[in-house]
């Protein structure tokens, strides 16, 4: 997803583009095996990751899948939903309010996202472009945890992935460039019933982003804008080819 993240020093999207010194952390196999494979439906699951950078900052995000929609929880203050209809919703649990962005709203803000990337943390196109290492099969007895190792280059970034094919999620995902690296490490994975997913997003008073401009007198909208939680759209930075980049750094999409 391309958008302005300058107000969030360690958000999911900014983490994907931040660079730092490589921090090699190995996944805890105990945590990763929190549930038995047979109870896991890859379309209905919750996956918790530790995201680390070279500055020693570690944050957790949780990916929640429900068929054609996916949620990222990265703070107690808000979580975000994307779906295959090209829509994006930002939820604010404390206020029980949400802001919905229809596909046209996102496009008008010059915001584009790749649902497959969000649903898998890494775009399948990126995986397909990488080299699969020969020793990357049957490293786990549980078929859900059967790993495949990939490595490759994208633009000026080196990518290394330990991929869980059954779940279509990375167990470990590391992006490195000359300035440093960022790493996603799977901590826990568990089943997520559809009813739990629906309950998570129910009971919110929603407003369309298109209507925000006519509702800035709404105290909630005013507060969220002040805190920088309402998306602004383009980062305002472009590379020499005219492509948008984030946070002043060269952007790339996974």
């Amino acid at each position: 997803m391309q958008h302005n993240t300058s107000s969030k020093p360690f958000s999911y999207t900014s983490a994907l583009t931040m660079a730092g010194t490589l921090i090699a952390l190995l996944i805890s196999s105990t945590a990763a095996h929190a549930v038995q494979c047979e109870s896991l439906d890859s379309s209905h699951l919750s996956a918790r990751y530790a995201v680390s950078n070279n500055l020693g900052v570690t944050k957790e995000i949780t990916l929640l899948r429900n068929d054609q929609e996916v949620i990222y929880q990265h703070s107690a203050q808000s979580f975000e939903l994307w779906n295959t209809r090209g829509e994006y919703v930002r939820y604010f649990p404390n206020e029980r309010r949400s802001v919905s962005y229809q596909n046209g709203d996102l496009l008008s803000l010059n915001i584009h996202f790749d649902f497959k990337q969000l649903n898998h943390l890494i775009s399948p196109k990126t995986i397909a472009s990488m080299q699969q290492l020969p020793s990357s099969s049957n490293k786990a007895t549980d078929i859900c945890m059967t790993e495949q190792q990939y490595q490759g280059q994208q633009q000026n970034h080196s990518l290394a992935i330990t991929w869980l094919d059954k779940l279509a999620l990375p167990k470990l995902f590391r992006v490195t460039d000359k300035k440093g690296s960022i790493q996603y490490e799977l901590l826990e994975i568990k089943a997520l019933p559809k009813s739990d997913f629906i309950a998570l997003t129910s009971g919110y008073r929603d407003i369309d982003f298109a209507d925000v401009g006519d509702n800035e007198s709404d105290p909630f909208i005013a507060k969220m804008i002040h805190q920088g939680f309402i998306q602004h759209g383009s980062s305002g930075f472009y590379d020499s080819q005219g492509k948008q980049i984030q946070n002043g750094e060269s952007g790339h999409q996974h």
């Binding site: 209809r85 919905s100 229809q102 596909n103 046209g104 709203d105 496009l107 008008s108 803000l109 010059n110 584009h112 369309d208 298109a210 925000v212 401009g213 006519d214 509702n215 800035e216 007198s217 804008i225 309402i230 602004h232 759209g233 383009s234 305002g236 930075f237 472009y238 590379d239 020499s240 080819q241 005219g242």
Partner: protein, 499 residues
């Protein structure tokens, strides 16, 4: 005999004047196409007469369509035409109309207005405060009790009482402020579904806007209501054809109520259903083509179930309303010009403005100019600017190139676009973007702005009113926005005031 002498004298003077001009002006002046076209235009205007009374009235409202939007959109459209002379010479369809006025838009409590207060002025003849729909400014916003006995009668009410047919069309939610003011009285524009009503409103029996649209007596019902906002008409436990849930907590399916309560009625929600409507057998048509706002014209082709264009909705509405021999009142809003501007995205604002122009053109083509007053206006403007000194024919969404063709450079050494915003999401705090390699004409490009704001804002300058047909002579000068009500009332003899 005296009169004949006077006429002869006037004619004589006129001929002398023309002869004198011909002698004074050199041929390089009078042979200029600019000169010829202008002289012909003025000559044509001297022959214009318009009857006073209109059988039908069609009022188009471009939400947020300020004067700079009109200028940019006419160039945008013109530059896409074959053999254009740069685009600047183009006129949007309604800019050919013979009568024009400037309109003051302020609300009773805001210098720069919102759509609720402005549309209230247009449809009731009374200015009110921002945020309220067709209630007087004695009401407190979002306070139901205070709105009691402060409800205002609208053009739709008057037209229905006279036995005319009425219709409201919008590309926004049909319950959104601008279309809603035409048929609903509410102290809060956001009370679109019952789930939006606070306890005070429920206790004091205020009804939500969608409810007010559908639950009207048949004698005062809309014959046509087309737009978005389906979610406000269906229960929250119902999923619609585009997999979206409703927002009604009362369990009432207002789409069903529409067909149950009104004769020869139909409800459609997608392009196929819309296309299948037979206007000869349909007297009450409800079309809700999106859960929320309809798509921008630029994105309409990508809609899940398909949506009709504003032009198609206008044409269908006219066909249906025209069955009433007494006449009709149709209000058509292009609702998303405003939203595109709020997002700082000029391309989509231009596209929707051009589509409004297309809808007006279709309306002109399918109505009798002797009996139909067609007016085009806006509710308010936006802080949208056309700047720099671009050469003639410079792409309106492009970077400014000087008359010599070289790229214009600002004081910071970087190029800049012709169109931009005084405030909005396109502002960058710190160093301004270098757009040298950016396609600023891309439909998703966000124009730069000065003051950083989450959402670009409305503007407070005047907007325009364009008119053609019977009663259009009343459109002149600089007028308050509520005068528009009185023009329609006068032209269509609706009974709102003396005429």
């Amino acid at each position: 005999m005296i009169n004949i002498k006077k006429i002869a004298a006037i004619a004589s003077c006129s001929l002398v004047t023309i002869a004198a001009n011909a002698a004074v002006l050199p041929s390089n002046q009078t042979d200029s196409q600019w000169f010829k076209d202008s002289a012909q235009l003025v000559s044509d205007k001297t022959q214009q007469t318009a009857p006073k009374k209109a059988k039908n009235v069609i009022l188009f409202v471009g939400d947020g369509m300020g004067i700079s939007t009109l200028t940019a959109a006419r160039i945008f459209e013109g530059q896409q035409q074959i053999n254009n002379q740069g685009g600047e010479e183009n006129l949007l369809s309604f800019e050919h109309f013979p009568k024009t006025a400037l309109v003051k838009t302020y609300n009773t409590n805001q210098q720069t207005p919102d759509s609720a207060g402005t549309m209230t002025a247009i449809v009731t003849g009374v200015k009110s405060k921002a945020g309220v729909l067709s209630v007087s400014d004695n009401s407190l916003r979002a306070n139901c009790l205070s709105s009691k006995d402060n409800e205002l009668i609208t053009l739709v009410d008057l037209a229905n009482a006279k036995g005319l047919s009425t219709g409201v069309v919008s590309t926004a939610r049909i319950t959104h402020a601008t279309p809603a003011a035409a048929y609903a009285a509410s102290p809060e524009r956001n009370w679109e579904a019952d789930s939006n009503l606070p306890a005070e409103a429920v206790a004091n029996e205020c009804k939500d806007i969608a409810y007010q649209l559908v639950m009207r007596d048949e004698a005062n019902a809309l014959s046509v209501a087309l737009g978005g906002g389906r979610r406000n008409f269906i229960p929250s436990d119902v999923t619609d054809g585009e997999n979206k849930t409703g927002r009604r907590d009362d369990g009432v399916d207002l789409t069903q109520a529409w067909t149950d309560n009104l004769s020869n009625s139909a409800y459609v929600w997608d392009q196929a259903g819309f296309d299948a409507i037979d206007v000869t057998t349909t007297d009450h048509l409800l079309g809700l083509f999106n859960s929320s706002h309809m798509e921008y014209e630029a994105d309409r082709a990508d809609d899940t179930a398909g949506e009709p264009s504003l032009t198609e909705m206008t044409q269908k509405s006219i066909e249906l309303l025209n069955k009433n021999d007494k006449g009709y009142l149709l209000i058509v809003e292009s609702g998303r010009i405003d939203h595109a501007h709020h997002a700082g995205n000029a391309y989509r604002a231009m596209m929707d403005t051009v589509e409004l122009s297309n809808a007006v053109k279709a309306a002109v083509a399918t109505t009798d100019p002797a009996e139909t007053l067609i007016m085009v206006t806006a509710d308010h403007s936006h802080v949208f600017t056309i700047a720099g000194y671009p050469k003639r024919g410079n792409p309106i969404l492009g970077l400014v190139h000087n008359v010599g063709g070289d790229l214009a450079i600002a004081k910071d050494g970087k190029p800049f676009t012709t169109v931009g915003y005084t405030n909005g999401p396109g502002a960058v705090v710190g160093v301004r973007d270098d757009l040298s390699s950016v396609d600023t004409k891309d439909k998703d490009f966000m124009q730069q702005s000065l003051v950083p704001m989450n959402s670009e804002t409305h503007a407070g300058e005047d907007i325009t009113l364009h008119a053609t047909g019977p009663g259009s002579d009343l459109v002149q000068g600089v007028i308050e926005q509520n005068v528009i009500f009185h023009i329609i009332n006068q032209a269509q003899t609706l009974g709102g005031t003396k005429y």
